[in-house]
């Protein structure tokens, strides 16, 4: 009896150690369409938005989520607010198809409805990204987008995770 209790406690402890990669929490299971959330990330020093090119001149154009390509810039020309990032995810049956990370005040347009999940903690956000990046069932290009999103966010938490990933055996 005592042994079975010990085993149960051990299993629970193991489960706690295991649960760090859970992607649950931000998005409802089986969700579709565009979803967004904001993360206060003081170490995210970059300003991420889209640019448009006309006659060789670049200007801030905002990002169109419906476009097949976005001309992304982190050059600082967008005068967005550093320290805050806005994550956009397009889901199909709960699975991410597209991931974009932009500055919170970068203007975004889309024909679709975007469900806003409000402010999310850095830890929750990192857990969600880890869940995507480490899920072998998700398409490689989406996992790569998630990695790229972490890199361009320039947040300390993102780089600490990348360090851990690259050091893993």
């Amino acid at each position: 009896m005592r042994l079975s209790k010990l085993l149960m406690v051990g299993v629970l402890l193991g489960a706690v150690a295991w649960s760090g990669n859970s992607a649950a929490g931000i998005l409802p299971a089986g969700a579709d369409g565009w979803h967004t959330w904001q993360v206060d990330e003081p170490s995210a020093s970059t300003e991420m938005c889209c640019i448009s090119w006309k006659h060789g001149d670049q200007s801030r154009g905002g990002c169109n989520l419906d476009g097949s390509n976005i001309s992304f810039s982190d050059s600082g020309d967008c005068a967005a607010a550093p320290g805050t990032i806005q994550v956009y995810v397009q889901l199909q049956n709960g699975t991410p198809r597209t991931i974009r990370v932009l500055s919170s005040n970068c203007p975004v347009t889309t024909q679709a409805t975007v469900t806003d999940h409000g402010l999310i903690s850095v830890a929750e956000n990192m857990d969600w990204f880890r869940g995507i990046i480490e899920d072998k069932g998700i398409a490689d290009d989406v996992r790569e987008e998630a990695l790229f999103a972490l890199v361009i966010s320039r947040s300390d938490a993102a780089y600490a995770y990348l360090d851990k990933l690259l050091s893993s055996r």
Partner: protein, 299 residues
């Protein structure tokens, strides 16, 4: 106390028995994911990417992962990144060292490229080859030329090959003055399509062997200018060797019309026979017209 000890042992056993991912705290430790993470670092600022890339290079990773890290390092235009690349290029063993050399070429940092000259001098054949490739990637014709000036034997030929691939006409021409004319240089002129240099050598009778090599090599260049020049050389040949080389040159360039023209103009039966044999070798349709004419008694 006993119970607590058991509890600790059981818990530790459970945690240790979990997959290795629990130890590294990362669920997917695959090579592919590491490669993708490294590739993503291309968008990272230097101060963020450099520590991660350096750690990978110093860690126990596969050559493929380290080679990808070298590429990211090559894109960081910071002295520390370039110093690390150069250190691995100098001291790295086997393929990793050679890859670091090539990455210096991709990075295109002028100081690092200049340092490759000493790495070439002290490196083994794999390293020397990588240095030439790095210069090719960087489009640094002058550095390959400098190597060619001092290199001998196989190393000289490899440097020549690289100059040829790079389309370094001026450097190849300059080498003639520095190293003299060689068969390798003539081949380089031919492959790079330097008709003018070959024409000069083809008309220079001071070295019969090089002259005939140059005449034949003109055939590789091909084109109207070459065809006209080869027919002229044939007609004005001062020796049988020169004439034969011109004929071979026409054969290589596929100048059937020139051989036919010479055939029709010739009144020497043995020469006509040789030219006809040459036409047969070219597979020219004109051969059948000539045979028909001969049967009709026209020629």
């Amino acid at each position: 106390m006993k119970t607590l000890a058991k509890f600790i042992v059981v818990t530790a056993a459970l945690l240790l028995s979990m997959p290795s991912t629990a130890q590294s705290d990362v669920n997917d430790v695959s090579e592919e994911l590491k490669l993708a993470a490294l590739e993503a670092l291309i968008a990272a600022p230097a101060d963020k990417a450099l520590p991660l890339v350096t750690k990978v290079l110093e860690g126990n990773h596969s050559d493929e992962v380290k080679e990808r890290a070298l590429f990211i390092l090559s894109q960081i235009d910071e002295p520390e990144a370039q110093a690390t690349l150069l250190r691995i290029a100098r001291d790295g063993e086997g393929e990793l060292g050679a890859e670091a050399v090539r990455m210096i070429g991709i990075g295109g940092n002028d100081e690092s490229l200049a340092s490759l000259a000493s790495i070439y001098e002290s490196g083994d054949s794999e390293t020397r080859e990588a240095v030439l490739e790095a210069y090719m990637i960087a489009g640094d014709k002058r550095s390959v030329f400098n190597i060619a000036v001092t290199a001998e034997g196989r190393d000289f030929e490899e440097a020549l090959d690289m100059l040829t691939v790079m389309g370094a006409f001026e450097e190849l021409r300059e080498l003639r003055g520095k190293k003299g004319v060689s068969e390798a240089l003539i081949n380089a002129y031919a492959i790079s399509g330097d008709f003018e240099s070959l024409r000069e050598l083809a008309l220079d009778g001071s070295d019969a062997e090089r002259q005939t090599q140059a005449i034949e090599a003109m055939g590789i260049v091909g084109g109207e200018q070459v065809d006209t020049t080869l027919v002229e050389i044939y007609r004005n040949a001062s020796s049988e060797d020169v004439r034969e080389s011109a004929l071979h040159g026409m054969l290589i360039s596929g100048h059937d019309a020139g051989i036919l023209e010479l055939y029709r103009a010739s009144e020497d039966p043995s020469e006509k026979k040789e030219l006809l044999q040459m036409l047969v070798m070219t597979g020219s349709d004109e051969v059948w017209n000539i045979i028909d004419s001969a049967l009709d008694g026209d020629q």
